[in-house]
Amino acid sequence: MGIHLRGGRRTVAVATLFVSALFGVTGCGTAPAPAPQPSAAQPAAAAGAPAEKTAPPATVRIPKIGAESSLVQIGLKADGTLDVPPVDKPMQAAWYRESPVPGNRGPALIVGHVDGRQQPGIFFRLREVAAGDQVVVGNGDGSQTTFTVTRTQQIDKDQLPSDAVYGDTPGPELRLITCGGSFDKAEHSYRDNIIVYAKAA
């Protein structure tokens, strides 16, 4: 099938569809799966230990910066990198479904855009969060967990501290991630990530 000029034409197709999405012309984002309804409770942990939360997180709120969002679930892209909420919905935060349910032991991971669709995103002011600030995560079962920020970090994206972010923790913790630093126009990407580390209060 000789399709001369086809590669160039399809490059235009990519530009057309991709830019449409970025500018919100089409609203064609594929929304990640909404958080499923709470499932039947699993057996409680051993006597004396706090019961494991089974309902996925539904909301995140950071009073210090006035950020509040529902949570959708995200997974991994084909290349193994973390998926993100649709960039045309910059006010949508997301919970990484392969991380612990917030409030359970381990580092729960929530990500949000610093901007998108020509406007600030849900975590636009995340860089203003400091140690001692609170983050409240509501679960689908109506319970909520309050976390206290222990530290923040701005780091080159290529130097993301995998163990600190994803490594096991003794208790319930939370990681909030967004983009930060200067913007690399050639790569169309911010150079840094802003990471907020928090522990259950």
Binding site: R6, R9, R10, V12, T16, T26, C28, P32, G80
Partner: protein, 240 residues
């Protein structure tokens, strides 16, 4: 796609982004006059009532074009393309993946503009958005009109052979592809993340402190560690 092309800003951006590709086309076109060829390439409007079917083949190398004549019928075409590799057709489509949070594929269709826009775009395995006309200010192929629709594989799609179809005028176009399982059901290769001996030791120590398990058999709290960078910004506020 919920809305059709509207805002001037977006149109401007489309034009700007389309320009390099268009220029590339011009360059190529001056070396070898452009035309599209197709196994089913009727001259003029189809005269039979039966709709011919074009079945796309796997990616092939472009063949030398011939000069189009103003009255020639533009051969119709349909294919499936991966956003990450847009210069070739893809013969496979994976379930459960996205591209920057958006649909990871698009269906590419070319019709003769005298027959109007494509109709009847459908697939039993793809979630399809609306067709968008691809800007072509140079019109290197007279009466050629290209369209694209973003696509992703339905969660309900079975693994194996599927098709996507559309019509240009009375001609039915069909493209075959194979649905593959997505990364979620593939053998995991990312847990635990590489980090060297000291990092692995630290993780194991934390795991022991957490009482999550014993030795190497303990499952990490983050079941699968993401690789690489976390991309959470479009750059809109970078200059603020």
């Amino acid at each position: 796609m919920k809305k059709l092309v509207g805002p001037t800003l977006a149109l401007t951006a489309l034009t700007v982004l389309a320009a390099p590709a268009a220029l590339a086309q011009t360059t190529t076109g001056t070396q070898t006059p452009a035309v599209a060829t197709n196994s089913a390439s009727p001259t003029g409007a189809p005269t039979t009532t039966a709709a011919p079917t074009t079945t796309a083949t796997p990616p092939t190398t472009d063949v030398p074009p011939t000069t189009p004549k103003p009255g020639d019928h533009v051969p119709s075409l349909i294919s499936l393309v991966d956003y990450t590799n847009p210069t070739v057709d893809t013969t496979t489509a994976k379930k459960g993946i996205t591209f920057l949070g958006l649909k990871p594929y698009f269906v590419y269709i070319r019709c003769d503009d005298r027959e109007g826009a494509p109709t009847g775009l459908s697939s039993d395995a793809l979630d399809l958005e609306g067709l968008k006309l691809i800007p072509d200010n140079l019109k290197l192929i007279p009466h050629s009109a290209s369209y694209a629709a973003s696509a992703s594989v339905k969660d309900s799609a079975s693994l194996g052979k599927h098709t996507v179809t559309a019509r240009c005028g009375t001609e039915t176009l069909t493209y075959s592809f194979e649905v593959l399982d997505g990364p979620k059901n593939e053998k995991p290769t990312t847990a635990p993340a590489p980090g060297g001996g000291s990092s692995a030791g630290a993780a194991e120590q934390a795991r022991a402190q957490a009482g999550a398990g014993k030795g190497a058999s303990a499952k990490p709290q983050v079941k699968v560690r993401p690789k690489g960078r976390v991309e959470t910004g479009g750059g809109a506020t970078a200059q603020r």
